[in-house]
């Protein structure tokens, strides 16, 4: 069993097939041995593919009770009796006619041009509660020679709805093995192991449609330049050409598949004819209702952030005090005991390394709680409802309701939010959403807002932080409208079509597993950046900046760090914070917002405050800095500073994610857009604010 799984993004050359599906191979994740047979896991969105994948491989892929959770390919070792195979978890797809990049990836990997790279068998997951819908993909895969095993999930949900399935009859109708499993409770796996092994051993299957009867079309598959039948792809399954004749042929094929599905469902399924109101329906009457629905959505989001910040605060404080107090003191004492105290080594270890690691640790409760609550919402099925109630707002921005999901994720962390844009079928929607995500106020920015609000507006700190979140939402809307009216005038939003999964009680195991997966990802990406940033800042503060001094013996204000910040400072003088000490935090914040407070502590040569809610000496220094840089309008200047911090580049990790998803050109545009918007707004806030405040 593998404790980990590797994931891959959309490979540039998917024709290499499943064997090459891992472009971001995690070397530490055990995989099936080289040459192992490959089994692909496919199915419609939200039928439990990733849950089954995790159960079979011991991996911990992100799972959730809403469509579009899997946007990447995952691979792990699956121990079948006597053989270990490579199991590949494909993004959800209703059919092999792709409408989004993740569906395209599924199609390309299943129908890889190189037959040697195709999977040895395909396990198609079908929801027993929505069987007909799940079978279109089965119908298409059964038109190839790929051995298919159909796995029925959600048997309990189907039973509650009065749906009974005769597995043997269904098996005969589909012409392939059918197995019932419960991946959430890990039942039925032995049967599945046995059937998949048999399917692998049996070799190529007989297509359900006689190949001689399938009319061969001129090649229309992506990346293939042949204008006549070629041998690189099954022509019955390629993207239809745009001529009317081909479209009519595709419709004819679709009708044949639906008729086949109907026959199979008639043979294997007994369902209650009446539509009964379920408790999901009763909840949805309120949760998706015209006025109450959006209010419930706002209340849920408010509760998530409130619980996150209130519950995490004492844990953060405790961890911070532990690191900055006893741990730092113990290291200093230990270094002193061996004659290394008071020098560069102690400075690096205590003020660089330990301060950096301490900061990462303080984020663990905050991010952990946020990820846990979002996982609970996802597992419960609420996220799909959230997409419904926000559809109209998103439509105004020229985006489909589903675009709301990455934007909500952005309030936790911008990096996964950029990846989540892959659930959008339209490339322009993905670009637009990726450009808007950086304006969502991630939790790393929250810590700086809390510190500044507590310092400058102690009586109204909560209101100020809430106002920053409202500003963030306003910015997303305004920038969206701006981009839509300039760059994307011709692009309309795809109308809402979304499957509403039944609500389910979130399981602790699943929610904690998702939380841990995301937290680990955060610690791996942000943690490294934060520790590295803190160390680099410490190093820059040790290097003289041209004003005399020697390495390791230079006052902060004469260091290279101060010199760089002073170089940038005049640009921000019109915004009221053209002071090198304020600007230095923005320079560090460009790399990671998580490191802003610690870099300030380093700048002022102070211990980091025990909590952003108790700024102490750092607060006093910040008050003096903003008072001086703003000419006596410290309050307005700090608001301008927070607006700048909200709007400019979130972090280098976000830039990297954007580059991966939307390319260099759009990433550069987003970078410039963020800096320009941040500067203009900050200057506007300060210049107008100081006249009235």
């Amino acid at each position: 069993m593998t404790p980990e799984t590797a994931t891959s993004t959309l490979p540039a050359d998917t024709t290499r097939g499943l064997a090459a599906a891992n472009c971001h191979e995690d070397g530490s994740a055990p995989q099936a041995p080289a040459g192992a047979r490959v089994v692909a896991l496919a199915g419609a969105p939200n039928v439990g593919k990733s849950t089954l994948f995790n159960a079979l491989t011991g991996a911990r892929r992100t799972v959730g009770n809403w469509p579009g959770t899997t946007v990447e390919v995952g691979r792990g070792a699956w121990a079948l009796p006597g053989e270990q195979v490579s199991l590949v978890d494909l993004p959800g797809a209703y059919s092999l006619d792709p409408m989004s990049p993740d569906e395209e990836l599924t199609r390309d990997l299943l129908l890889a041009a190189d037959p040697a790279a195709r999977p040895g068998a395909v396990v198609v997951i079908a929801s027993a509660a929505h069987l007909a819908r799940s079978l279109y993909l089965v119908a298409q895969v059964r038109e190839t020679t790929l051995p298919v095993v159909v796995v029925l999930t959600m048997i309990d949900v189907a039973a509650r709805r009065g749906i009974e399935i005769d597995t043997a009859a269904l098996e005969r109708a589909l012409g392939c093995p059918v197995v019932s499993v419960d991946p959430r409770r890990r039942r039925g796996h032995e049967d599945l192991d046995r059937v998949v092994l048999a399917a692998l051993d049996a070799g190529p299957a007989t297509p359900r449609v006689d190949p001689a009867r399938v009319r061969v079309q001129p090649c229309g598959c992506r990346g293939c330049t042949a204008d006549a039948p070629c041998s690189c792809c099954p022509h019955d399954l390629v993207e239809p050409a745009l001529d009317g004749e081909h479209t009519a042929y595709e419709l004819e094929r679709a009708d044949e598949r639906f008729a086949w599905i109907e026959r199979a469902v008639t043979a294997g399924v007994t369902a209650r004819a009446d539509v009964r109101q379920t408790w999901t329906d009763r909840i949805d009457r309120w949760v998706t209702a015209p006025v109450i629905g959006p209010l419930i959505f706002l209340a849920v989001m408010w509760a998530v952030f409130q619980v996150t910040t209130v519950v995490a605060a004492p844990l953060q404080d405790g961890l911070d005090q532990l690191v900055s107090g006893p741990v730092s003191a113990a290291v200093s004492a230990g270094l002193g005991a061996i004659g290394l105290g008071g020098g560069l080594i102690e400075g690096f270890l205590v003020n660089g390394l330990i301060a950096g690691v301490g900061m990462v640790l303080t984020f663990v409760p905050l991010m952990g709680l946020m990820f846990l609550l979002i996982a609970v919402l996802e597992d419960s099925g609420y996220m799909a409802r959230a997409a419904v109630v926000t559809d109209r707002l998103m439509g105004r921005l020229g985006l489909p309701g589903r675009a709301f999901l990455p934007l909500v994720v952005g309030f936790g962390c911008n990096v996964p939010a950029i990846s989540a844009t892959r659930i959008l079928p339209n490339a322009r929607h993905r670009i637009l959403t990726s450009l808007l995500v950086p304006f969502t106020s991630c939790s790393a920015r929250l810590t700086v807002f809390v510190l500044l609000a507590t310092t400058f507006f102690p009586e109204r700190a909560g209101t100020v932080v809430f106002a920053m979140y409202l500003t963030s939402i306003l910015l997303v809307v305004l920038i969206g409208l701006l981009l839509r009216s300039t760059l994307w005038r011709a692009v309309g939003a795809d109308p809402l079509v979304i499957d509403l999964p039944p609500y389910q009680r979130p399981t602790a195991r699943l929610s904690l597993s998702v939380m841990w997966l995301r937290l680990k990802g955060f610690l791996r990406t942000a943690g490294g950046i934060i520790v590295a940033t803190v160390c680099v800042v410490w190093l820059l503060q040790m290097i003289p900046g041209g004003g005399g001094g020697t390495f390791g013996a230079v006052p902060v204000e004469d260091s290279l760090y101060a010199a760089v910040s002073r170089f940038v400072a005049p640009v921000l003088a019109p915004a009221g914070f053209g002071d090198w000490q304020a600007v230095s935090a923005l320079v560090v914040g460009f790399i990671a917002k998580e490191a802003v407070i610690s870099s300030w502590a380093q700048t002022y040569a102070l211990a980091e405050p025990a909590s952003e809610r108790q700024p102490g000496a750092l607060g006093q220094h910040l008050l003096a800095t903003f008072e001086s840089s703003s000419g006596g309008h410290a309050g307005v200047a700090v608001v301008a500073f927070m607006v700048f911090l909200l709007a400019y580049t979130p972090c280098v990790a976000t830039i990297s994610a954007q580059k991966r998803e939307i390319g260099v050109r759009w990433t550069a545009l987003g970078l410039v857009l963020g800096l320009v918007v941040a500067w203009v707004l900050a200057v506007l806030v300060f210049q107008v604010g100081r006249l009235i405040w």
């Binding site: 059919s95 929505h130 209702a289 015209p290 629905g293 799909a384 419904v388 559809d391 499957d499």
Partner: protein, 87 residues
């Protein structure tokens, strides 16, 4: 579909945004871009399918029951699904 056929459809059927909640209906035709028609078909909303309109949602859409599944559709999609009473 011919012009006459289209007129007949418009006269004899009602789109899903116009029908009251609760009554089972048979889909007569689905208009719209091919990609949308295909996605709806994959979800079970295609000619001859039985659908039951349920409650309205924020933004003017509504939830539809299709073979026990609940699918939320925007009002523009509802307008493109023409139905007639069952039986």
């Amino acid at each position: 579909m011919t012009l006459t056929g289209r007129i007949l459809v418009l006269v004899s059927t009602r789109s899903l945004d116009q029908v009251p909640a609760g009554a089972a209906l048979v889909v007569h035709a689905v208009d719209g871009p091919p990609a949308l028609v295909r996605r709806l078909a994959e979800l079970g909303i295609r000619r001859s399918a039985v659908v039951t309109p349920m409650h309205r949602t924020a933004g003017g859409g509504r939830v539809i029951d299709v073979a026990g599944s609940r699918i939320a559709l925007a009002v523009s999609v509802l307008r493109s699904i023409h139905t007639e009473p069952q039986g």
